[in-house]
């Protein structure tokens, strides 16, 4: 009996061993190595020295604070637009209109097309001489000469956001559409019988019930946007004059292009800290919101 009890006690932990081993190997160990590397002056040479907090002091004293602010601004604008357009798209796709299935398929391409190809297409669209946007704007009289969207700080900044939104909206739309479709139909029928308008039903039934999905999607989208690399790199490589250099672009340039692995690791640790803190605060706010919600389970 004693043997059986021991087996019963340890068996669940044994089951966790493979997953834990994998997590240790592919998450914990690389994180530990990155953290260790951030306190060294590792560069191209295999020889390195521990330099304490020098890498952190160096990045905080340079233009990194500006990069941090730009990253949050870029991320906030992009995520807000994705959530707004995505929610609107989900509502429209959820409406009982003819050909709904076709529209649901048509929303997919930005997500399905490989990102690099999509971004290259956008790069050409932003071109002043051959691009569609400048060409159309000239034809309808908005512009009187070709305009290079990626040549100026502000236009390049917003152009990268537009492309990021284009790529990110389908995922938000489909996720929220799935959330809307899980709402029991009888709630709408009861409200309809009581004379509730379409807007009222959306405000009092749909929105409260998909709030957790919106919150989860916003968090996932924020993390993905924060770490968005390929869109900016392909369109502007962080230019002009660093106007589109976000933390991830700055980290890549430092660690990979300039082979400053130690400084790059310090930047990576900063990114982990920012995203960790952001997620924590976000979930705390979400929990507080959930407790206040009238739909909170009693």
């Amino acid at each position: 009996m004693a043997v059986a009890k021991t087996q019963r006690d340890y068996f669940p932990y044994l089951l966790l061993v493979p997953a834990s081993a994998v997590m240790l190997a592919i998450v914990a160990y690389p994180l530990y190595e990155t953290f260790r590397l951030s306190f060294t002056n590792t560069s191209m040479s295999p020889n390195f020295e521990y330099v304490g907090f020098e890498n952190y002091e160096k990045i905080m004293s340079k233009r990194f604070p500006e990069v941090i602010a730009r990253t949050f601004y870029w991320m906030s604008l992009s995520v807000a637009l994705k959530m707004l357009i995505g929610t609107l798209g989900a509502v429209l796709l959820n409406a009982a209109v003819p050909g709904r299935a076709l529209f649901r398929v048509l929303v997919m391409p930005p997500w399905v097309i490989p990102i690099a190809i999509g971004v290259f297409i956008w790069g050409w669209m932003y071109n002043g001489q051959f691009g569609m946007i400048s060409g159309m704007a000239q034809r309808i009289g908005i512009l009187d000469a070709p305009f290079e969207f990626l040549a100026y700080k502000n236009s390049a900044f917003f152009a990268t956001i537009v492309t990021d939104v284009w790529i990110g909206v389908p995922m938000v739309t489909l996720y929220l559409l799935a959330a809307m479709q899980s709402i029991p139909k009888d709630l709408y029928e009861a409200a309809w019988v009581d004379g509730a308008s379409r807007m009222y039903r959306f405000r009092r039934i749909t929105l409260p019930l998909i709030i957790p999905s919106i919150a989860t999607m916003a968090l996932l989208s924020a993390i993905a946007t924060f770490n968005s690399f390929d869109i900016i790199w392909i369109l502007t490589e962080g230019g002009p004059r660093n106007a589109t250099t976000t933390m991830i672009i700055d980290t890549y340039k430092t660690a990979i292009s300039r082979f400053k692995y130690g400084e790059g690791a310090a930047r990576t640790v900063m990114i982990c800290l920012f995203l960790g803190t952001f997620t924590l605060v976000y979930f705390m706010l979400l929990n507080r919101l959930a407790k206040r919600s009238p739909h909170n389970a009693k």
Partner: protein, 403 residues
């Protein structure tokens, strides 16, 4: 019994094959680009010759696309698993040498004498040569003769000075539907390359032979200011353009001039074009940027001596010139075949004549850092956010950290 014999025979054959290949030492060679160039079969032939002469050594050639090529070799070397020999931009050699990742190639005086001094300058740091030049380019000014004629300019008389270049570009911009000149100012390496053509045509430099930053000089300020001035007669938004994006503008007749390498001769299409030396600045003569790519021998592969001997065989005058003519590169050495080529096709002349007046890619220990500093200065002036003198001063300070 029959099956047993077959199995034993198979095992024996595999053992022999295994022991034979185990005896061969492998030389991992990384080549940038793909294997479609007409020079590649010639390279393979030379490698086969080398293998025949060096029994027990085999060369494993790996082709890596340009975008990842140098990063791959460097990362492998940093991780302690270097390729034996790899194709690298010569600009990276000083950084690799400083980090003790490559070995000097120990050229004899006779070998050095086969190169023009400015070419030797692209691979020399601290008095040693760190790579074997493998590919080379100079730059010249292409002009559209039809647009010159439309603008009332002499189509057979290209600009020779910066003033003439600006006036020609202005005339084209004002009198035709095209822009005067194609200008590259994107956050990309060839923006700095394009600018260095102007800097070297005005007697400026980034770093001197003693390793001191000499960027902050009146010559540089003039060159940066001229770059900014050209932006007023160039295609709109030069900050969105790297050099490669200028060619479509030239082939479509949308720009009157642009600076590029000899490869454009085959790619500018139906345009009625000419090519001439880069116009001279007020304080210089017709210069050009000399870019070489080299074969670098990495330290720690265990076959350094063999890799060096392979590199020297591949780049000796006869094999190198055959490779260059196959690939369409500017020839590195003054050989009879090269003189024959220039006589047959005069459009080669501006590229070959420029060699003695050219300057190398600056040798620093953080090449990308240098590129970012110079590109930012150019962008600041092109966007009208800064005066040239201020931009040069800031860039020079940044360059001190990367020399």
């Amino acid at each position: 019994m029959k099956l047993k014999s077959l199995l034993l025979g198979g095992v024996f054959a595999l053992a022999i094959a295994g022991s034979a290949s185990a005896e061969d030492k492998r030389l991992h060679m990384i080549v940038c680009g793909d294997n479609t160039g007409a020079g590649i079969p010639l390279q393979t032939e030379v490698i086969n010759q080398w293998e025949a002469a060096n029994a027990g050594y085999k060369v494993d050639v790996e082709f890596v696309p340009w975008g990842q090529c140098q990063e791959k070799s460097t990362t492998l070397a940093s991780a302690g698993n270097p390729p034996a020999i790899a194709y690298m931009g010569s600009r990276t050699l000083k950084q690799l040498a400083k980090n003790d990742l490559i070995i000097p190639v120990d050229m004899t005086e006779e070998e050095k004498a086969t190169y023009a001094p400015p070419i030797l300058g692209t691979i020399t740091a601290d008095g040693k040569q760190w790579g074997l030049p493998r590919a080379f380019s100079t730059k010249a000014l292409y002009w559209n003769k039809d647009l010159f004629a439309k603008a009332g300019l002499d189509p057979e008389n290209p600009p020779k000075t910066w003033d003439e270049m600006y006036e020609a570009a202005k005339a084209i911009k004002e009198k035709t539907d095209a822009d005067g000149v194609g200008l590259a100012a994107a956050s990309f390496d060839n923006t700095m390359h394009q600018f260095l053509n102007y800097l070297y045509s005005n007697g400026g430099e980034v770093i001197n032979a003693d390793g001191e930053i000499t960027f902050n000089s009146p010559n540089t300020v003039e060159a940066v200011a001229f770059y900014g001035k050209l932006a007023t007669v160039s295609q709109p938004g030069p900050v969105a353009y790297d050099r490669a994006k200028l060619r479509p503008l030239f082939t479509e007749g949308r720009i009157g001039m642009f600076i590029s390498g000899p490869w454009e001769r085959a790619q500018v299409g139906d345009v009625n074009w000419g090519v001439t030396r880069v116009p001279a600045g007020p304080n210089g003569k017709h210069g050009t940027l000399l870019i070489t790519d080299s074969l670098a021998v990495f330290k720690g592969s265990g076959v350094e001596e063999q890799a060096l001997s392979l590199g020297k065989l591949l780049t000796n005058p006869e094999n190198q010139v055959a490779f260059e003519l196959g690939e369409g590169f500017t020839p590195l050495r003054d050989m009879p075949q090269v003189r024959e080529l220039a006589a047959k096709d005069p459009t080669w002349a501006p590229f070959l004549e420029a060699i003695p007046d050219g300057g190398p890619e600056p040798f620093v220990t953080d090449y990308v850092g240098m590129q970012d500093a110079i590109n930012e200065a150019l962008q600041a002036v092109v966007l009208g956010e800064m005066e040239a003198a201020e931009a040069v001063e800031i860039a020079a300070e940044a360059l001190e950290a990367v020399k």
